[in-house]
């Protein structure tokens, strides 16, 4: 099961973006903007759906 958290960062123009940070174990992490259309975010959503359906 995915082990993740969401953080918010401030962009240079003052806006903010949410990011997903996935803990992959062994001190390894993957982060990506939680923005629709981002392939990493889309794959993350599909995996969450699959996990909830199982």
């Amino acid at each position: 099961m995915l082990n993740y958290q969401t953080i918010t960062t401030e962009n240079m123009d003052g806006t903010t973006t949410d990011h997903i940070i996935i803990d992959r174990g062994n001190d390894e992490f993957t982060s990506f903007p939680a923005v629709d259309g981002n392939p990493a975010y889309e794959a993350f959503k599909l995996q969450l759906e699959a996990e909830s359906a199982e």
């Binding site: 099961m1 960062t9 940070i21 992490f29 982060s31 995996q47 699959a50 199982e54």
Partner: protein, 413 residues
């Protein structure tokens, strides 16, 4: 008095109208001809071994070409295509698994639990069972001419279902194959406990009208299979091939492998593949790296993903980037890429990296892409740490424990 033709012939007939003896028949002479019996089989070529001495040259092995060779009796010889290793023939990048940036120890490889993930560079593991687990690793192949192979393994005790292992091909490369006959070739063997009941491995070339997407999306919608074979594996290497025609409407291809593994995995429930090649034509030729050289293959892979990491000869605190502190807890490092990437990265991998200002290391706890400041040849990162002074410059270094520190940028399909 009748005239007599002056050409010597075996006989003459008399023409009363012209009062002429007309020669008939053919005089003594010889014929030089090549008898049908000189050729024996499809593909035989007629050649010569000397002046006025015809000879037969049998067809060469599939994929070979005819070259001049003065050491042979006919002056000709079949040999593998002269430029066996050249860029652009093979549309599968990293088909021999030479590049494996995502693991500091490729022999152990990556454990992939559910979902769609990359492992060896450009190779996509799609585990359709969220609770399933696959270990993808790189092993020595033992094959002549190919150093490594990929091992796709269900770990012992695993009951995961259908798992795909494949490579989605970027649209810019896929469209070059539209309307063409292509051949997929690869070497494969199985582990002693490979659990497909028929020891089968399905190998397919998928096609779709998608644009730059990964395996799960290519598989959906209007996907069709342009070429396929069912390889029956043994524990010894075999080369398999299949040929098909790509639709002229196709905009994206993928090379995909999967087995119908069943039950609970034993210790050696795996298959291994290498030398994966997709090329134009109906004959499988000698395997070539997609980019021709190891340097080119690395650059081709880094166009999709690259990782700055420690290395085996200098594992301690290797520099990755330099940045400026935006606050006491946020550092903005600028990360330059070794090659221009396919597009701006969409995610970042990291482990065990630190900030440094000339002495001592302080751990970085989170790294994200700095949205709106991400390019396809450099990017700004957002690193969370502590003890910074706003406006000061800091280095970003791996930690001092060998291979475990890295930052990787991902622009994969």
């Amino acid at each position: 008095m009748p005239s007599l033709g002056n050409t010597p012939r075996p006989a003459y007939v008399y023409d009363t109208e012209t009062d002429t003896w007309v020669p008939i028949g053919v005089g003594a002479h010889t014929h030089d001809y090549i008898p049908n019996t000189l050729v024996d089989a499809k593909g035989d070529i007629l050649t010569a071994t000397a002046d006025n001495v015809p000879a037969r040259l049998a067809k060469g092995a599939d994929g070979t070409v005819l070259v001049s060779d003065s050491t042979t009796s006919t002056g000709l010889a079949w040999q593998p295509y002269g430029a066996q290793y050249y860029a652009g023939k093979n549309f599968v990048i990293n088909g021999a698994f030479d590049i494996y940036q995502r693991s500091s120890n490729p022999t152990v490889g990556n454990t992939i639990s559910g979902g769609n993930n990359y492992s060896a560079d450009r190779w996509n593991v799609w585990n359709t069972s969220p609770s399933g687990s696959i270990v993808l690793s790189r092993q020595l192949s033992g094959l002549t001419g190919i150093q490594y192979c990929a091992r796709f393994q269900r770990p012992a005790g695993n009951t995961a279902g259908l798992n795909f292992f494949g490579q989605p091909i970027e649209t810019a490369n896929s469209i070059l194959l539209a309307g063409k006959t292509v051949t997929l070739s690869f070497y494969a063997r199985k582990g002693a406990d490979y659990s497909d009941t028929a020891s089968a491995l399905q190998a397919q070339v998928w096609q779709n009208t998608t644009t730059d997407v990964g395996l799960p999306t290519i598989e959906g919608g209007s996907r069709s299979t342009a070429a396929a074979t069912t390889a029956t594996l043994t524990t010894s290497w075999q080369r398999f091939t299949c040929t098909g025609t790509i639709s002229s409407a196709s905009t994206q291809l993928a090379v995909v492998f999967y087995g119908s593994t069943t039950g609970t995995a034993a210790a050696n429930d795996y298959y291994e593949i290498t030398g994966v090649q997709l090329e134009v034509g109906s004959i499988a030729t000698h395997f070539s790296r997609s980019a021709g050289t190891i340097q080119g293959e690395l650059a081709a892979c880094q166009r999709y993903y690259f990782r700055q990491t420690s290395n085996s000869t200098n594992g301690a605190a290797v520099p990755i980037a330099i940045g400026i502190a935006g606050s006491s807890t946020i550092l903005y490092p600028i990360m330059h890429y070794p090659v221009t990437m396919r597009r701006e990265p969409t995610s970042v991998d990291f482990a065990n990296v630190n900030i440094w200002q000339g002495a001592g290391l302080t751990a970085i706890t989170n790294i994200t892409l700095q949205s709106n400041s991400v390019g396809n040849d450099k990017t700004l990162l957002n690193c969370t740490t502590s003890g910074l002074t706003t406006g000061q410059t800091y280095g970003v270094l791996t930690n001092a424990s060998g291979l475990s520190g890295f930052i990787g940028l991902n622009a994969e399909l």
